[in-house]
């Protein structure tokens, strides 16, 4: 009897725990895609969920445990949609909206290479958008998706020519995540922005075989709106920091991205979280997913390594610029002090 009572209490508590939900829509060439299977798989274990899109391309998955989920849509037929940001953090409470764009789900083919160095292969193909070759796109290979397929790949192609063709030679045989991007903004680095094209190969991870060339076309979609990585909003995640970016004299600095790394080596590679640029008051709001230990700083540019003359600085509240943000808490008054790189004094 006592056991049953405990089970009942457990069930009630479980039912009362805050749940996450997701809503979204899958589009293909500008039209809603019906009958696509949207798979949500929690990256920290547990059961996933699969739902189908309706005639209007919309889908909904309520009552999910909060946490990070890997999201993708497959079908109908040889179509697939992978979001530009994966995994997606689903916080408790308000549903998260996910817009997906389906492309042909190409499978790789393989051909023997004539002069391959033992242990190495290559990958080649075309980069396309709505069936047309994309000029100026860069294809990147990643060894894993643990860092969200951001930043430079372990190997990158040269920009594609007018025929959209790319090739990456001398790739150590293995399995790689393949991503293609065409950035329209100056510099060609940093996060994909509104209007840029990007494509994550639905066949990932793609094998590169010893002495063979993997052939794979990559289809791009257009980035519809700017978002900071994993940002959402503080209302959604309930975890993050708020504060100001100031210069050494304490004056607010505009146009600075505040970033957070989980790794202590700040400034090398892409951050785990990032804000949009600060306004004239220097204020920022940085949602931090499930919380934890983060190393914080701010910089003027959003891609590549810091450049001379650029605003750059750290959170100075601890010697290593690290800050523990407990889950469910928003830490206020965090100050990032920036100065110009290599500007003396």
């Amino acid at each position: 009897m006592r056991g049953w009572a405990l089970l009942l209490v457990g069930a009630i508590l479980s039912a009362c725990a805050p749940r996450a939900a997701v809503r979204g829509r899958v589009m293909h060439d500008g039209s809603p895609l019906a009958g696509a299977r949207v798979r949500l798989e929690p990256t920290n274990g547990g059961a996933g969920a699969e739902v189908r899109t309706g005639p209007d391309g919309r889908f909904e998955a309520p009552h999910l445990p909060p946490g990070p989920y890997r999201v993708e849509a497959r079908g109908p037929g040889p179509l697939a949609a992978i979001p530009g940001q994966n995994p997606v953090y689903l916080p408790p409470g308000q549903p998260v909206w996910i817009g997906l764009q389906a492309v042909p789900a190409e499978s790789p083919t393989f051909a023997l290479l004539a002069d391959a160095e033992p242990g190495f292969g290559s990958i080649a193909g075309r980069v396309l958008h709505r069936g047309r070759p994309v000029e100026g796109a860069v294809v990147s290979l990643y060894a894993d998706e643990s860092r969200g397929l951001r930043g430079p790949g372990i190997q990158d192609s040269f920009p594609t020519g007018p025929d959209g063709a790319y090739v990456i030679e001398g790739v150590l045989a293995g399995r790689y995540w393949v991503v293609a991007r065409k950035r329209l903004h100056e510099g060609g680095m940093g996060p994909v922005r509104k209007g840029d094209l990007y494509g994550i190969a639905p066949a990932n991870p793609v094998p590169i075989r010893d002495g063979q060339e993997t052939r794979l076309d990559i289809h791009l979609v257009k980035k519809e709106r700017d978002t900071a990585p994993d940002a959402g909003s503080l209302e959604l995640t309930g975890t993050g920091v708020r504060g100001r970016v100031v210069d050494p004299q304490g004056r607010p600095v505009a146009g600075v991205y505040v970033f957070a790394y989980r790794n202590r080596t700040i400034g090398h590679g892409m951050p785990d979280f990032r804000t949009l640029p600060t306004g004239p008051d220097g204020r920022f709001e940085l949602p931090l997913g499930e919380g934890g230990l983060f190393y914080l700083g701010g910089r003027e540019n959003s891609g590549g390594s810091p450049q001379p003359g650029e605003w750059f600085g750290f959170y100075e509240g601890s010697p290593d610029h690290g800050l523990v943000v407990p889950r469910g808490r928003v830490l206020e008054g965090v100050e990032i002090v920036v100065k110009r790189v290599l500007d003396g004094g």
């Binding site: 190997q155 934890g292 003396g344």
Partner: protein, 321 residues
């Protein structure tokens, strides 16, 4: 005269002579300077916070230097020291800094380090050099992590010997001048990226990489050095555009004279250096890329100096074999 220890920290000031360690304590009478240093360190000491695993370096004992601090005598480190943006560390001639091998995060590399985000002045003399090395009885490369100068106001090193680190010195996004120093028995002797760096008159030998650099659009100057007996003489990792000047250096007896990283897609020139009697073609033949393949026309070392450049050994006695 003085040396002391607080919670694993050993710091001290000796005016001549070595620190004597008794059961982990240096048995000397603390001086006023030592007391001030220790009080400052005690105030700046950080303990692990909740939610931080003990193997994370955020939880490793760390000391902050926020004002002007002078080290002299013998300083023994088993932790991270950060010279904050408002701080200045001055290391006096003859100072011995000894790093214990503390592998906090279990990656096989010692984690004791000095990071400079403010200012560092380490000016020894030929007869009283500053000496940074392992405290271990059988020292080896990687016993401690590095002397890192990162987003700093500046660093000046003269007559400094740096051994047994992962990186003897790393300079990033900072101005730095290194003259008549020695970097030996490290994994990387001198490593830099995006730095206003002058490196001259120094001996960089018996490291895995003598010089390891990423130029990233900001050239440095490496002139009049002895860069010898390393596994790799110069390792250009990536984004090197040929602006960094390597001139009048002796680059001899390095197994690989020049190595280009996987992502270094531009050829580089290293004119007017002495390559231990090798011709330009022989240097190219012996140079490699990241996969141990010949770099071929990826580098050009012409013209080659026919004779070694005089680079006096900065310290008393004979240079190491």
């Amino acid at each position: 005269m003085g040396a002391n220890r607080l919670g694993g920290w050993e710091a001290g000031r000796l005016e001549g002579g070595d620190a004597r360690l008794l059961g982990g304590w240096a048995a000397e009478t603390p001086s006023l300077v030592t007391h001030l240093v220790l009080l400052m360190f005690l105030a700046g000491c950080r303990t692990p916070g909740p939610g931080v695993p003990p193997t994370d370096l955020h939880a490793m004992p760390t000391e902050s230097i926020t004002g002007r601090t002078e080290w002299s005598g013998e300083v023994v480190l088993d932790r991270i020291v950060v010279v904050r943006s408002s701080g200045e560390l001055v290391i006096a001639p003859g100072t011995r800094v000894r790093f214990r091998r503390v592998d906090w995060d279990g990656d096989g590399i010692g984690d004791a380090e000095i990071t400079v985000e403010g200012r560092l002045t380490a000016r020894g003399t030929a007869k009283r050099p500053i000496d940074l090395a392992s405290a271990e009885p059988e020292p080896r490369p990687g016993d401690w992590k590095y002397l890192m100068v990162n987003f700093a106001s500046g660093a000046e090193l003269e007559f400094v010997r740096v051994r047994h680190a992962f990186s003897g010195i790393q300079v990033h996004y900072s101005p730095a001048a290194i003259r008549r120093c020695e970097f030996a028995d490290n994994v990387d002797g001198v490593r830099f990226s995006t730095a206003d760096l002058t490196l001259e008159g120094s001996w960089i030998h018996h490291n895995i990489h003598g010089i390891r650099f990423e130029e990233r659009g900001h050239p440095a100057r490496v002139e009049g050095n002895e860069i010898s007996d390393n596994e790799v003489g110069i390792f250009a990792v990536t984004r090197c555009g040929g602006g960094t000047v390597f001139r009048s250096n002796n680059l001899r007896a390095n197994r690989v004279p020049v190595k280009l990283g996987w992502e270094q897609d531009q050829g580089l020139r290293f004119p007017e250096n002495y390559w231990g009697g090798l011709s330009a073609d022989q240097v190219v033949e012996a140079s490699r890329d990241g996969r141990e393949r010949r770099v071929g026309r990826g580098i050009d070392v012409r013209p080659v100096l026919p004779r070694p450049v005089p680079v006096p050994w900065p310290f008393p006695g004979r240079p190491p074999e």
